[in-house]
Amino acid sequence: MGEVLEINGPIVTIRQSGIRNGDQVKIGRLGLVGEVIHIREKDALVQVYESTESLRPGEQVVGLDYPLSVELGPGLLGQIFDGIQRPLNKIMALSGEHIARGLEVSALDRDRSWHFVADNNLVVGSELRGGQILGTVEETETIQHRILVPPDSHGIVIEHAPEGDYKINETIVRIRTDSGSVEDLKMYHRWPVRMPRPYQSRANSNVPLITGQRILDTFFPFLKGGKAAVPGPFGAGKTMLQQQIARWANADIVLYVGCGERGNEIVDILQSFPELKDPYSGRSLMERTFLVANTSNMPVVAREASIYVGVTMAEYYRDQGYDVVMVADSTSRWAEALREVAGRLGQMPVEEGYPAYLASRLAAFYERAGSVNTLAGNSGSVSLIGAVSPPGGDFSEPVTSHTKEIIRTFWALSKPLADARHYPAISWLESFTAYADRAAEWWSEQVGKQWYVRRQQALSLLAEADELERIVNLVGPEALSSNQRWVLESAGLIKEAVLQQSALDPIDSYCSPQKQFQLLDLMLQFHDGGVELIKLGMPVEPLIELPFGGELRRLKSMVPSDDLKELARYSEKIREAFDGLRVEYSNGQETKS
């Protein structure tokens, strides 16, 4: 069908006839898989997902006649795939510890049987539309997999299989299509990854995605179906934060995409998740999780593909009516893969070597997030959370700055905070969210009427303290009033007792919304108590010397999310202490006068 003309890293020029742009090809005696990305006259440029080492000019190329697409059906959950959806465990069985080239492995297990229960509406003679639910199988104990009609199929049911055990290659429904031909539907179908899956309409969700992380949920809340970015220099905590979200988010399905990052971080998940319990279902976390891993030492072109492979699988579970979270670590590596290919194609670089279409590609990717009404009439969502790795930690570089324009929640990680081991090192000054007002409704109904007010109060306290610190650093603490010194104290308390949250603390790793609110409320109660006394004229020193500091800061790791009585007791204790102080102080004042 064609032959290799030139090999330039991952880009191979072929002489071809009749190949379409976007088609998959198999190259040479090794059968390397690639994708046509450019056609000019008789030649085509192919980006190859595997190393092209040892490939020669003159080797044969076979077109596969379909674009890069993924298999969608039961058996995805719990798996780990490479950037083009090959299961890494199967690859290991075939080629050992190192990934061989040219392996052909399908994503879904052909030999496994699933117990299929047909949907009640599935009867001979009924009409089937794309995206409709044919029936269900139990994919894991927590997840009912809804078998969908491929989005582009449509017809009348001629026959269907009864409830029973089937392999995914067996036909379960036969339809007559509009054109009169017969189409066999199976429990899986394929979908091209670069094309967003269709839905009925966009929906407006106001439900926050709870991650159990205070600085996220309380201060910079995020909604189901939203898009967020986590930028930060190396070592600031992007990966830990994304892993925390993958662990604790109140989503139905979590997809972790390791894009050009460390192999050991993937192993960390593979080893720890099966042992961890989903706080909502009580079952192993792995039952709702799956991974795409194209680590930094794996070929760069597959890295570019991995993001689309991931988001297409996420959309597929959304279409079943689930809330899906996809975290991608790191979108910068994806952008770099894009840059590398663009560079080899000789496309004009515009900023730091990136091609002009970087911004539009990023936007198109994040556009695949959202809450939707599915073709089957359910609601589902895809939330996208991408890490960004700016060179030198410089947020003005192209990937960070373009991403910032696109997303609605920006969780900015700061190096000074990470250096002080203030984790999560999320800057309360640089971060933002556009979802706070919408999340407020849920919080005030479900958790506490005062949520919005308390959150605002804490944020302004933190901002004021930052300003005061600048003053102290210019002229020393003596220049501050008692009230200002108290603000500094309270801000310090909030940072340590509320914002800091160690992922490694068995009790504090996950913090329920109730606990989040009560902890914050308690610290602000402490602050307010002091403010009131200072207003009466009391000096700040005795307040600073109050013996609560250590205890309040340790509460988060003492009080478990499912038993908050201790917090109420503390609230009482603080009230008494301030009452005592007030009485003491006004008595003292009286005797003086």
Binding site: G96, E97, R262, G263, S296, R421, G476, G550
Partner: protein, 461 residues
């Protein structure tokens, strides 16, 4: 091996050579070049088409001409011969002996580029290595299979630190020693000699394989050297079951060679002229550290790199930090204060520490103590900064406690002898001694029990 020799060099520039009318040459193949004086050079095919083949020449193209240059394509990639006999030997970047002894002969030969490890085949590294250095063991612990670079600068004692780690590193309660793979690129003769003498005097020379390309050796060979060295390391770890410690110095010289060849090829530059693929290229090297599920051995990697102008945001340390599992950063300021090892604690990090310390590996309080030291030291640096602005007299009592803590932390905890080996318990006890300079209500990262058990506060500091 092909016997065909071509004399079809069509152009030459820098380290690149172009040949015409030699169709069907495989990418990555090894090339042997013979010049007019019959001297041999080594090259590798880095681009291949029907019309023209691009070869990078590791020894450079000086004195080559188009007429009298013969090129032989070996029809195979760069491979390294592997045998237990490589221990105690010294090779160059392409695996040829530098030590006047015969080349290694073995049936076992491996492509030095390796192939990517399947992430599903890895085992998570978690066994604590005691280096005997408090600032590392206590605050940035190293574990077996980790890649933990040293970010240094010219004139800083990174070599002495690396040598001390090599001398002292062991698993507490485990007698087996590391086998060392030492890879040097662009270092001076005296630096290389320093390491050789170190290995000799500590009696480990028989357990070391050296790969060296000194400052006056051909720079392009550095592109291959770490790959060659890691191929040896993988063999020692996964086939001979050794725990291997790989010391690579200086990665900056490697990256510069890469930039040079990239510029000659006309690759699109990203930052500071380095090619966009520097990240992936470095990752191919660093990610070869680790552990595998079904293998006994391990590869622990300590790459050393000097930060150009002490700038940690420079692409080389920056991309390295994005790939490695932490970094040990050296500080010129501490070095000027005669603190050895001058480890700059706040920007240093060990990402794998969290799973390799605590009850099962070191001591139960270790994670909290480390976190507390970090918090207190960065707080103390603020006090020091404030003192420099408004004068120490103006400081509060709390700030005075912190000032003293900062001094003692640097002088007693970070500083230690080049031959001083502190075990982890000594390190942790020392940490508590310092934390006892601070009032208990400032120590919120440790638990109440820790305070009862280890903290002795007499109310004044």
């Amino acid at each position: 091996m092909s016997e065909l020799e071509f004399r079809r060099v069509s152009s030459i520039h820098g380290a690149l050579m172009f040949l015409k009318a030699v169709d069907g040459i495989a990418l990555g193949d090894r090339v042997v070049i013979r010049d007019r004086d019959n001297n041999r050079r080594n090259g590798q095919v880095i681009r291949s088409s029907k019309e023209v083949v691009m070869v990078q020449v590791f020894e450079g193209t000086d004195n080559l001409d188009l007429e009298n240059t013969w090129v032989r394509f070996l029809d195979e990639p760069f491979e390294l011969s592997l045998s237990p006999g490589m221990l105690g030997r010294n090779f160059n970047g392409i695996g040829e002996p530098r030590d006047d002894r015969p080349p290694l002969i073995s049936n076992l030969r491996r492509n030095v580029n390796g192939s990517p490890v399947n992430p599903a085949a890895r085992a998570y590294p978690r066994e604590f290595i005691q280096t005997g250095i408090s600032a590392i063991d206590g605050l940035n612990s190293l574990v077996r299979g980790q890649k933990l670079p040293v970010f240094s600068g010219s004139g800083l004692p990174h070599n002495r630190l690396a040598a001390q780690i090599v001398r002292q590193a062991r698993l507490p309660g485990d007698a087996s020693n590391f086998v060392i793979v030492f890879a040097a690129m662009g270092v001076s003769y005296s630096d290389a000699r320093f390491f050789e003498q170190e290995f000799e005097s500590s009696g480990v020379l028989r357990n070391v394989v050296m790969f060296m390309n000194l400052a006056n050796d051909p720079p392009m060979e550095r592109l291959l050297l770490p790959r060659t060295a890691l191929t040896a390391a993988e063999y020692l770890a996964y086939e001979l079951d050794h725990h291997v410690l790989v010391v690579i110095t200086d990665m900056t010289n490697y990256a510069e060679a890469l930039r040079e060849i990239a510029t000659e090829k006309g690759d699109v530059p990203s930052r500071k002229g380095y090619p966009g693929y520097l990240y992936s290229d470095l990752a191919e090297i660093y990610e070869r550290a680790g552990r595998l599920r079904d293998r006994h051995g391990s590869i622990t990697m300590i790459p050393i790199l000097s930060m150009p102008s002490d700038d940690i945001t420079h692409p080389i340390p920056d991309l390295t930090g994005y790939i490695t599992e932490g970094q040990i950063v050296l500080s010129r300021e501490l070095n000027n204060k005669s603190v050895y090892p001058p480890i700059n604690v706040p920007p240093s990090l060990s990402r794998l520490m969290k799973d390799g310390i605590g009850k099962d590996f070191t001591r139960e309080d270790h994670p909290r103590v480390a976190s507390q030291l970090y918090a207190s030291y960065t707080r103390a640096l603020e006090s020091r900064n404030l003192a420099s602005i408004i004068g120490a007299e103006e400081l509060s009592e709390r700030d005075h406690h912190y000032l003293e803590f900062a001094e003692r932390f640097e002088a007693d905890f970070v500083r230690q002898g080049e031959h001083e080996e502190r075990n982890i318990i000594e390190t942790l006890n020392l940490a508590w001694e310092l934390l006892s300079l601070l009032p208990p209500n400032t120590l919120s990262r440790v638990s109440e029990e820790d305070l009862h058990k280890y903290h002795s506060w007499d109310g004044s500091g």
